[in-house]
Symmetry: C2
DNA sequence: GCTTGAATTCAACACATGATGAGTTATAAG
DNA sequence: CTTATAACTCATCATGTGTTGAATTCAAGC
């Protein structure tokens, strides 16, 4: 007898080693990135992972649990920040543009950042999480180390966030298809003004 | 007999002149601004307006109809743009910052812009609408009239959008409570760099 | 080779969503 | 005064949501 659809095989544990948990997280990241926290449903995540919704629940407790777990380290500031701040003071602008483009150019990390941003825009709790993350892990540290006043750091980061939205979310032309070098030439001077 | 709760009075048209349609639109704007397109439900809008969901339907056909109607003229570029472009060329930066702060400072207009932004971030169709609106009504005209290349205009607008998000959506301090003059001093030079 | 525990699905709950069709009351047009 | 049309609610549909409890199948510890 040919078994029906693959994966439609009753309850009970599956034989062999199990990696379902990671698979769920991967799909969760994709969906949170596409739709934001409220837009990505537990059931859609389960469906995408080929798994019963209750299993997602079993692993992560509730929807917020999935989100928190999926968002772990959207980007490690502890890795990225020193890399930026190590640059000579008169190249801070260019270095920052390049770092943003590097992170946002990588599909995996862009997904997490988009998820964070999309969710923060529409969900108050996620907005609070994001604010906390930004202030403590990014603005705080950056200002502390470099001596640049907070307002200027925030203006610089805000600038990059806005440009990333136009480029990656709204896909406005010609911004969306400009080359990395073009963007550096375009944006670095303004950032240098804030950080220099 | 004291009538029960106000507004809980059976079917049929209400006596006197009717302004319900406008009331619904007002509530719709508030909710779209708070939650975005997908987050704001037809039923919540109806509830907020003290009205049956079917009435919303009756007036606007479907949910997208409500949104389109509520978003009419989030900001009139035809009014704002000439005002900005009329400034002397070496004050374009400051004028633009002041214009953005003016529009975003007004609760009514901020609501529409937030609604647009929040919805565009999470809903593909609204993103398309927004892209269309931005390119035709804003980027196109602005570049055309002033002779500033599109990439630079977009960098400038992106900058302001990002800062507005940090200030009004994420409410990051000290950006969120900085005064208008502080912001002009902070941001005008960068914008002047793009537009001058 | 039992037994404990984890992985997995099923069935169901209570509730929210967008949409529809029919019915009721008022205004406006003839 | 009659009639048409607009405002308005009710009940209902089909579907989707997050969550729960029980049942089944496998993998390890003893």
């Amino acid at each position: 007898m040919t078994e029906a659809a693959r994966g439609t095989r009753g309850p009970g544990r599956r034989p062999g080693p199990t990696e379902t948990r990671e698979a769920i997280l991967a799909r969760a990241r994709e969906l949170f990135a596409e739709k934001g926290y409220d837009g990505a449903s537990l059931r859609a995540i389960a469906r995408a992972a080929g798994v019963d919704p209750a299993l997602v629940h079993h692993f992560f407790g509730n929807k917020e649990g999935v989100f928190v777990e999926a968002m772990r380290f959207p980007v490690e500031p502890s890795v990225l920040l020193p890399r930026i701040l190590a640059a000579p003071r008169d190249e801070l602008g260019e270095t920052m543009v390049r770092s943003f483009l590097l992170v946002w150019g990588d599909a995996e990390r862009r997904a997490r950042l988009l998820a964070m941003l999309r969710s923060a825009m529409t969900n108050e709790r996620v907005a609070a999480m994001t604010r906390e993350f930004l202030t403590s892990a990014l603005f705080g540290r950056a200002g502390e180390v470099s001596g640049v006043p907070p307002l200027k750091v925030q203006a610089a980061v805000g600038h990059m966030i806005g440009v990333m939205i136009l480029r990656y979310v709204l896909a406005v032309e010609p911004l969306a298809s400009a080359s990395e070098d073009e963007l550096v030439r375009l944006l670095a001077p303004a950032l240098q003004g804030y950080l220099g």
